[in-house]
């Protein structure tokens, strides 16, 4: 009884205190970019966030980073929380955790009178020009098919066009997983000597990938000549299993992401290749588009489809360019709003074709 009383009072006090100390800047909505990310603890995300932050800071704005842990429901709740108190003219750059939710997110922000650029995920059927077209400015992704293809061809080259490979897939219904598989299949079509021995789901994670690789090694033994890890974490998991078997460097491994760990292994020769997107650039362009439209520098009506739904360039990292890649240091000046706005689509790799999402 006493306990209940005390805690009720205590909590009330705490809430009132918390509520009164949090000051909400209801000033210029154009200066605050809401950046929805998967999490903040991986190279890709920190680089992307860095790019967006440079753009916003160059115009005296801020970035509010919101981590959604790859959970679309949490994303939905967070967008709801931001738009609920009123959000006329808010700007968003969001990673829709599942393509199934992209439509809901952009429509929601459209209803609230905001502007959004999306990263990576959209359903095949919807595009920025046909769904909440005034709010959804652009969708910026990386070409997963190309990533799968280029890594596949690199593998083909390394194996001299002959041999069996295994594939560690990402979470199956994620677009990048499907795209990278499509790309790999395209590579196999051009390199018929390369065959897929087995495919399993490593769920983008290192430890499960390691367990699967270990199982494969016992099942197929030295039949395996190459491993496709659909992201870098799984490539590292496969590498760890190969190291255990003393096969590191003998079996070729590819990843995708361009994380520094993997690039270091590429330098040392244990991993063959990985694909790195221009991650900082993606964040910067997404932020610049959202801000530019918001302040009227860019007119949505003037944009073409290829300018609203496009791939960002990416680079294949192999032993040849690994050292150079590690040494690069992005220059903040190149990521200011003005610098990006000068040629927003300079590093576009073209419109996203139909059938890849």
């Amino acid at each position: 009884m006493i306990f209940n009383k005390l805690t009720t009072l205590g909590l009330t006090a705490a809430f009132v205190a918390a509520a009164s100390t949090v000051v909400f800047a209801q000033d210029d909505t154009s200066k605050k970019l809401y950046l929805g990310v998967g999490n903040t603890s991986a190279d890709y995300w920190t680089q992307m966030i860095w790019g967006a932050t440079q753009v916003m800071e160059s115009v005296g704005g801020t970035v509010a980073v919101i981590g959604n842990d790859f959970d679309p429901q949490k994303s939905l709740q967070n967008i709801g929380a931001i738009t609920a108190p009123g959000c006329e003219g808010c700007i968003f750059t969001w990673f829709p955790d599942s393509p199934a939710f992209t439509k809901t997110f952009v429509e929601k922000i459209g209803d609230a009178g905001g502007f959004i650029t999306t990263l990576w995920n959209r359903a095949e059927e919807i595009h920025p020009w046909d769904t909440a077209p005034d709010a959804w400015i652009a969708n910026i992704s990386f070409d997963g098919v190309d990533a799968g293809y280029q890594n596949g061809m690199e593998l083909c080259k390394a194996m001299n066009g002959e041999g069996a490979i295994v594939v560690l897939q990402g979470v199956l219904d994620n677009a990048p997983a499907k795209q990278r598989t499509m790309g790999l299949e395209k590579a196999i079509a051009e390199c018929p000597g390369m065959t897929i021995l087995d495919k399993q789901v490593g769920s983008w994670q290192q430890a499960p990938a390691q367990d699967i690789m270990r199982t494969w090694l016992t099942k197929y033994g030295d039949k395996i000549k190459g491993v496709v890890g659909q992201n870098d974490a799984m490539a590292l998991g496969a590498l760890a299993a190969l190291r255990e078997a003393g096969l590191a460097g003998k079996v070729f491994v590819t990843g995708t992401d361009g994380s520094s760990d993997v690039v270091k292994q590429i330098e040392s020769g244990e991993i063959l290749s990985t694909m790195s997107g221009l991650n900082e650039y993606q964040g910067a362009v997404a932020a610049a588009l959202a801000y530019g439209v918001r302040v009227g520098d860019i007119k949505v009506a003037d944009l073409t489809e290829a300018q609203r739904d496009f791939f960002m360039q990416q680079i294949l990292i192999t032993k040849a360019n690994a050292t150079e890649f590690l040494a690069r240091k992005p220059d903040p000046a190149e990521y200011s709003y003005e610098a990006i706005k000068a040629d927003i689509w300079a590093k576009s790799a073209g419109q996203i074709p139909a059938g890849v999402n």
Binding site: M1, T7, L11, V16, G80, F101, T104, A123, E124
Partner: protein
């Protein structure tokens, strides 16, 4: 009112009090949240979660747990989308009815196989997920456009989200059922002492089957509501809803051990959890500390809403 009656009121209605406190706190911080449009939009977004919370309450009242609800919602979304071109509106009804039957089967199996609900529904979770993956080949399925059920669920009447109206109707029906029907009486008694209820001549397998049918049916309804917003289904579309649903039920004051609580309390619990999430997001805390803030606030909310007088041993 004397001091004692006030305290009694607080204890009985802990969930309502907490809801009021949090609503006050959040709206002080962001007054815009009290606008009808904002509330409505929050309710619409969270209708799938709320309907799952409503359904999940019934097994918990028995002292059981249904871990398969989120997987069932995803599977239902996938099935509804796949059936929508052929069946039109009927696809939603077929899916919800089918889910209720499967849920009923789950509940009945718990008694027949005498395997705890935790295990049966954990297994069912895997099975539903696998079937969903297999049916869609891990791809997304778009819903056929122009089907009235989905359009209705995605829109509003009298300015209120239809999906949320449906949540209220279902919650109200369940509340009436729990209060006025023999089945409702049996559900509460079952949660208090399963064996005594069985020896009193209650068909416990049927009671359990009903509770699980209700939770599966509501989960499927949640899946249908979800795709009426997203227009796309995938085999994992609702998978992340399991824990929030359980959190909502518990925050509402329904005891995990069974026999105590109710559907309306759970609904209030769900709203509390949603508002806490809103509060944490707009609080301006860095993203890294939001989870910590959410976790701790939820714990405090549960501590306040649990009526300890009615719970014996705390496990």
């Amino acid at each position: 009112m004397t001091k004692d009656t006030i305290l009694m009121f607080l204890r009985r209605n802990g969930a309502l009090v907490v809801l009021a406190i949090i609503l006050t706190a959040v709206s002080t911080a962001a007054p815009g949240i009290l606008r009808w449009r904002a509330i409505n939009s929050l309710l619409q977004d969270n209708a799938p979660l709320l309907i799952m919370i409503v359904g999940a309450t019934l097994p918990i009242l028995l002292g059981c747990l249904d871990l398969s609800i989120a997987a069932m919602a995803s599977l239902a979304a996938v099935m509804a989308a796949m059936l929508s071109p052929a069946l039109g509106s009927a696809s939603a009804y077929v899916v919800v009815a089918g889910a209720a039957m499967i849920g009923g089967l789950q509940g009945w199996m718990i008694g027949r196989l005498q395997v705890p609900s935790f295990v049966i529904s954990l297994g069912a979770l895997g099975i539903f997920k696998g079937i969903g993956m297999y049916l869609t080949a891990a791809d997304m399925v778009g819903i056929a456009p122009g089907i009235s059920v989905y359009e209705t669920l995605g829109s509003r009447s009298f300015g209120i989200s239809n999906a949320f109206i449906l949540v209220l109707i279902v919650a109200w029906l369940f509340t009436l059922m729990l209060k006025l029907s023999n089945l409702g009486r049996n559900i509460y008694a079952f949660g208090a002492n399963e064996i005594a209820v069985y020896i009193s001549g209650v068909r416990r397998d049927m009671v359990r089957a009903f509770a699980f049918a209700a939770s599966s049916g509501c989960a499927a309804l949640g899946g249908v509501m979800m795709i009426s917003q997203t227009m796309f289904a995938s085999a994992t579309v609702a998978n992340s809803l399991l824990l929030p649903a359980l959190v909502g039920v518990v925050v509402g004051g329904t005891a995990i051990s069974g026999g105590v609580g109710g559907v309306l309390s759970s609904l209030i619990g769900g709203l509390i959890a949603i508002l806490i999430r809103v509060g944490v997001t707009i609080s301006g805390l860095p993203p890294e500390s939001q989870d910590v803030a959410f976790g701790i606030t939820i714990l405090i909310a549960v501590a306040l809403t649990t009526d300890r007088a009615k719970i014996g041993l705390v496990k």
